[in-house]
Amino acid sequence: MSKQADLYANAGEQFAASLARLARAVERDADKARDLEQEIHAALWASFARFEGQCALKTWVYRVAHNVAADHVSKAVRGPKRVALEEIDELPSPSNPERAAGESLVLAQVRDLIRQLPFPDSQVMLLWLEGETTKAIAEVTGLTPSAVGVRVHRIKALMTAHFDTPALQGASS
């Protein structure tokens, strides 16, 4: 197996689910989300030809995935009005009640919030949801750790105000 194929297989084992969640969070339409997921896979495959251990595999994978997703969102002709984290006081109501009932209210609200956030706030939130640390999020996004910390604090405050989830207290420190 070539080094490129090896890296791709390794990344697939570790991050396939995370990247599928990323695609479904940024793209509401299921078919387009699947298309975006494959686009991320294709970008990762191509990028592994250039991977020489410049950073951790996880950082590389998340950077490629989030950048491809950001390009996808930027190309959309119409999208929701973006609102920065510091201006949001409560989670949005799920925009599609039927879908929300089917997939859980929590997921529907979280995804709707992600789609409302501008870059890099949405990227910070997605990485935080995957359980990444402030340092890891800073490496992927390019924000300073303190800037990430401010955003994570704000996200946690938003989440704890709405969900009774004990894990929120200790995550991403």
């Binding site: 590389w60 950077r63 950048n67 640390t133 929120l168």
Partner: protein
């Protein structure tokens, strides 16, 4: 990786897998396809202009209307310059998605800003030279037939409309470029 903050999140699509590499290699990336489609459209539009003005130039030569022919030829040359510029600018390196998210976002905005900001120079400029050169030659031609007054009477409206169109397109591009500059400044403020 630390404790997951929302368990429902991690439970979603837990069985996902990467696409088979064999399938990935067969399919051109969406980005490449988009660029190819855009280039084909732009080249087709350019080719249409070249054919139309080229026919005008050839027709002018055949009927010994050399000013018409010169006007058509000028437009062909200027359209050729624009097509060449599109080709040269479209072949810039593809963005590297493994940059940090902020670097990637900034470089994407910067590329768009550079392209929009310089539209008057590389796009509108050559087109304006071709179109207004054509008008000028028409005025000379009509002046020889019916005098300057008659020539201006028949051409001033299209000249004003074309000028307004060029100014509007230039302003629109500068406006869009300014919006992008604001976004670039916002990103710079974050690091």
């Amino acid at each position: 990786m630390t404790q997951l903050p929302i368990p429902e999140w991690a439970a979603a699509v837990a069985d996902a897998e990467f696409t088979d590499p064999a399938l990935i290699q067969k399919r051109a990336s969406k980005f490449e396809r988009t660029i190819k489609r855009r280039n084909i459209l732009e080249y087709a539009a350019g080719a249409l202009c070249v054919v139309l003005f080229g026919a005008l130039a050839i027709g002018g030569v055949m009927k010994s209307e050399y000013l018409f022919a010169a006007g058509g030829a000028l437009c062909v040359v200027c359209t050729g310059i624009v097509i060449w510029q599109l080709h040269a600018r479209g072949s810039y390196r593809l963005p590297l998605p493994e940059e940090s998210c902020l670097d990637h976002l900034r470089s994407q905005y910067q590329r768009q800003y550079d392209a929009l900001h310089s539209v008057p120079v590389w796009y509108l400029g050559p087109l304006a030279v071709g179109v207004f050169g054509f008008y000028a030659l028409m005025i000379v031609q009509f002046t020889q037939i019916g005098g300057l007054g008659k020539a201006l009477e028949g051409t001033w409206k299209p000249i004003v409309a074309t000028t307004a169109f060029f100014i509007f397109v230039g302003w629109l591009n500068r406006f869009a470029a300014r919006k992008l500059k604001d976004k670039i400044d916002q990103i710079d403020a974050l690091v």
